[in-house]
């Protein structure tokens, strides 16, 4: 092969791969930029109240 064919494959697949990676990176950055949904007052992350589970009875 002359090298042109391999170049065609590298350009096509390389461009698609770069575009895919850029989309993933931008999506992650956009998610980080968004404020988290408001937490219910008086709850701690991971606590039964935050998970909407009934608290254990003493």
């Amino acid at each position: 092969m002359s090298g042109y064919i391999e170049a065609g494959y590298v350009i096509a697949l390389g461009s698609l791969g770069s575009y895919a990676l850029s989309l993933l990176r931008r999506e992650r950055a956009a998610r980080r930029g968004l404020p988290h949904p408001p937490r219910r007052a008086g709850t701690v992350p991971g606590s039964p109240a935050a998970r909407d589970e009934p608290a254990e009875q003493p």
Partner: protein, 240 residues
């Protein structure tokens, strides 16, 4: 969560398909008689890229129509049209580049003013214009409506590109698979590799489009929240 998992599985399937197509196309399939120096190996990526280009613009047009139709008007169709057109532009660019390489090895020139090549280049420019129109600032609803109309205008060139190989006898070879007569000019491992190429590139399109759509949705949410925050600030200033 389930959508995330499905999308990840789709991405893995597309990646595996691409690797398999490349391996079969470059190292396994035979060289065809009448093609110089293995140039036929571009067959496994060039027609699939063009195929996805048609799917992407078809989806963008359908979404634009759904947005313009008052009963189905929803922002999600505008996002879908934008995402699909952007992916379509990438595939059109790659169709032109791989076609140009094929032309250089077969015809001896990088570019010829052949009807198919010219109308495809025009399609690329039309959809670049469409993406530019999408980025013109303005009220979201006005921008969406304006973009949907521009998308419908750009689509007028798609059937011309699709039928160009049949309408005009030119430098470009005829279709490898004739849909009208259901006749294929490739057989055996070449036909299977070409089919795998079509499937892999279509899966890649769906994956890219889904991620581009999600990015647009996140951007819309960010804009909405920014607007709400600005309004709240102005309200607080007025009350003070």
């Amino acid at each position: 969560m389930r959508a995330d998992r499905t999308l990840r599985a789709l991405g893995v399937a597309a990646l595996v398909g691409m690797v398999a197509t490349t391996w079969l196309g470059l190292f396994v399939t035979p060289n065809a008689v009448g093609f110089a120096d293995g140039t036929v190996r571009l067959l496994y990526i060039h027609p699939p890229l063009a195929w996805v280009m048609f799917i992407a613009y078809g989806m963008a047009t359908l979404s634009s129509l759904l947005y313009l139709w008052p009963r189905t008007r929803h922002r999600r169709f505008d996002r879908l049209a934008g995402a699909s057109a952007e992916v379509g532009v990438i595939f059109t660019g790659l169709t032109l580049v791989t076609g140009s390489i094929w032309g250089r090895t077969t015809w001896g020139v990088w570019w010829a003013w052949d009807p198919l090549l010219t109308t495809t280049a025009l399609l690329f420019v039309l959809y670049l214009g469409y993406l530019a129109i999408r980025n013109v600032p303005g009220d979201p609803e006005t921008v969406a409506r304006r973009s949907a109309i521009a998308g419908l205008v750009a689509f007028l060139d798609v059937p011309i590109v699709f039928f160009a190989v049949s309408w005009w006898r030119s430098l470009h070879q005829g279709p490898t698979i004739d849909l009208a007569t259901r006749h294929s000019y490739v057989h055996g491992s070449m036909a299977w590799t070409l089919l795998l190429g079509f499937v892999s590139f279509t899966l890649t399109y769906v994956w890219l489009m889904a991620h581009r759509y999600r990015l647009a949705a996140l951007k819309d949410r960010e804009d909405d929240q920014g607007l709400e925050a600005a309004l709240a600030e102005r309200w607080a200033e007025a009350v003070r």
